[in-house]
């Protein structure tokens, strides 16, 4: 008989996501699934609305990544109305978007990842958090994170109307630009972000690379997953969060596909399994091969590590230098080490900060030419961006009056849902033996899950920003015998 372990997030929408780990009679891991329960009806809620309402509505389906939803939606409207945003509008959008990346990536690292490494995966959960981190490394870091977050959110709020759930994007441009009076503050923020980005990477390298045990963990087979990778690249094959084509590389690193996001339907398949409400994505030409890695897999990963794996380079010099160090340390490209997602995340934050520096110095930024109004409805619009946690696609169809008739969203956590299940299984297999489950071991299983920075709300089209982890161990008859909380 199988025994079952559940790692169950308790959200306001309780029970809407959990990890189930099944043990065999020997108490070893037999299988693992990441499950999410969906609130249905979002697509129907959108039908019958003018397409222009979508950028206002879609940020509300996610408490974690509203800015990418707003941006993907605005880009879908660009496509729907056959519009190319003005050069200044593009700069403003990218300034907003890179500010989002910086804020989001630093929050994830300092609030969620860094405690695992700086306080240690075996540390008391009551201490293994941002408060414990501040206690160990001092309040200075905490204040810098808060300050940078505030500054980035001010930029996002300026463009989007408010920092979270932005509403400012318009087809063909933006609703509000910047003035020369704004520029000084923007440059100051960009410079601060670059300095902090360098500091964060240095902290990671000192803490993780300087600790043989942690480095061993990062490189271990338990935290490795050999799948395809997908991410957006620009015309130079460099990492780009806002625009470009989607590139897929195989587990050996060879290019498998390179396509315009408008053709996503030919490359990305969605598969329904009875154990989850997330429509699991895979490479459509290969077909669904189940939860497998390595040879024969049709799964791919998205997000920071995947983006760095598919790109030839980073787009900015400091980030490029760190990119080379990372792959040298990990043994070359591609890297399949799940915990390297944290490292890649910091390199991306540095690129975003450097990009912000470039944009804030561009004379075009303060031009008044912020919108192209030459609208020509073509009834289908597809927008794609890289969200902090991976590729995000919005697909809208309308009638002759621009009223929504169909909506399809493919989000980062959907792409990663099957790989997350596999990663959890691998980590659990290596760490849980003969039913021995300690708090520290469980956290190390959770680390496999947390590295993806998954967003339940996005994947299920529900609002959810809070998902503490709860572990339930059941005996072979399904009776609960132990419960551990990380909250």
């Amino acid at each position: 008989m199988l025994k079952k372990i559940s790692i169950n997030p308790v959200t306001r929408l309780e029970g809407h996501g959990k990890i189930e780990i099944f043990l065999d009679d020997n108490g070893d891991v037999h299988d693992a699934y990441w499950q999410v329960v969906e609130l249905r009806g979002f697509e129907k809620f959108c039908q019958g609305r003018p397409a222009e309402e979508m950028p206002r509505i879609v940020p509300n389906i996610c408490g974690v990544c509203p800015t990418p939803h707003n941006m993907a939606s605005v880009k879908a409207l660009d496509d729907l109305y056959s519009l190319e945003p003005t050069a200044t509008a593009k700069l403003i959008r990218q300034l907003q978007y890179n500010a989002f990346f910086i804020e989001d990536h630093f929050i994830h690292f300092f609030f969620l990842s860094a405690p695992d490494f700086i306080l240690g995966p075996d540390a008391d959960p009551a201490e293994r958090n941002i408060l414990g981190l501040i206690g160990k490394v001092g309040t200075g870091i905490g204040n810098r994170v808060i300050d940078i977050r505030k500054r980035c959110r001010n930029i996002m709020g300026h463009v989007g109307g408010k920092p979270t759930h932005p509403e400012g994007g318009l087809p063909g441009g933006v609703s509000r630009g910047f003035t020369e009076d704004d520029r000084k503050g923007l440059i100051e923020t960009a410079n601060m972000c670059v300095e902090f980005g360098k500091f964060a990477i240095q902290l990671f390298k000192e803490t993780v690379l300087g600790n043989k045990e942690y480095l061993k963990l990062v490189r271990s087979e338990n935290y490795s997953l050999k799948t395809f990778n997908m991410g957006m690249v620009d015309e130079n094959n460099q990492v780009n969060f806002y625009e470009g084509k989607l590139k897929v590389t195989d587990p050996a690193g060879k290019e498998y596909a390179f396509f315009d996001s408008r053709d996503y339907i030919n490359y990305i398949g969605e598969w329904v399994e009875p154990w989850t409400y997330v429509r699991l994505t895979h490479l459509k030409p290969l077909g669904w091969h189940g939860l497998t890695e390595g040879d024969g897999t049709s799964l791919y990963r998205v997000g920071p590590l995947a983006r760095l794996n598919v790109a030839d380079n980073m787009a900015t010099p400091l980030a490029q230098k760190e990119y080379e160090i990372m792959f040298d340390t990990l043994g070359g490209k591609p890297s399949h080490q799940t915990l390297a997602y944290h490292w890649a995340r910091l390199i991306e934050a540095l690129q975003a900060a450097e990009t912000m520096q470039i944009i804030t110095g561009d004379p075009l930024l303060t031009s008044k030419d912020i919108r192209n109004m030459n609208l020509k409805l073509k009834k289908v619009g597809i927008g794609c961006v890289e969200a902090a946690r991976g590729t995000l696609i919005h697909h809208y169809e309308t009638d002759d009056d621009g009223i929504i008739t169909k909506v399809n969203l493919i989000v980062a956590t959907q792409h990663n849902a099957a790989p997350i299940s596999l990663s959890v299984k691998k980590a659990a297999t290596g760490l849980i033996k003969h039913k021995e489950v300690s708090e520290g071991l469980l956290n190390m299983v959770e680390m496999a899950f947390r590295a993806y920075d998954p967003c339940l709300g996005c994947a299920t089209h529900t609002l959810s920003g809070h998902s503490p982890i709860e572990l339930i161990i059941r005996d072979s008859k399904g009776m609960e015998i132990k419960r551990l909380n990380s909250i």
């Binding site: 009806g41 974690v64 959960p125 920075d453 998954p454 809070h466 909250i487």
Partner: protein, 155 residues
């Protein structure tokens, strides 16, 4: 006294939007420049940072309690939520943890934070309307917030 009146919620999740609806009704009733009327969909650290810099904060939000009756209105203090929460969210911290963080970082917060919470029924469906009894509670909460401002001599 610099005061924040803050409505929280998600505008497309049915009763969850009640805090935002209350604030929309207050916008035409409070014209004092010392009082900021703000709608937000924030939690954790984002919420706490919104409060920073004010002397007093009045928050309006939806709540679901074990034995609550839909439409019930509660007046709570921020202490209500401390002591029972811990850290461990996927991408942010909860309200109580965020309070601890800003205290540790010496970020100034309002001396008084009060919360008007409305017991709600439906937060799991997509709708831009609140349900009946929650809708009926909106004008009542609007008056309570106005009274709160008057009693604090900020209106």
């Amino acid at each position: 006294m610099k005061t924040l009146v803050l409505g929280l919620g998600n505008s497309i999740l049915c009763d969850d939007s009640v805090g935002l609806r209350v604030i929309q009704n207050l916008k035409n009733r409070i014209l004092n420049p010392d009082i900021s009327i703000v709608e937000a969909s924030e939690g954790g650290l984002g919420l706490i940072m919104l409060l920073s810099g004010y002397d007093k904060a009045i928050i309006v939000d939806a709540i679901q309690t074990k034995n609550g009756q839909v439409g019930d209105i509660y007046r709570l203090s921020s202490d209500t939520f401390t002591g029972s929460r811990h850290i461990g969210t996927l991408h942010d911290v909860d309200f109580a943890s965020a309070l601890q963080i800003v205290e540790k970082l010496h970020i100034p917060l309002p001396v008084e934070i009060c919360i008007y919470a409305i017991e709600v029924m439906e937060v799991n469906i997509f709708s831009e309307e609140c349900t009946g009894k929650v809708n009926e509670a909106i004008p009542v909460v609007v008056e309570k917030v106005l009274q709160e401002c008057i009693q604090s001599n900020v209106l």
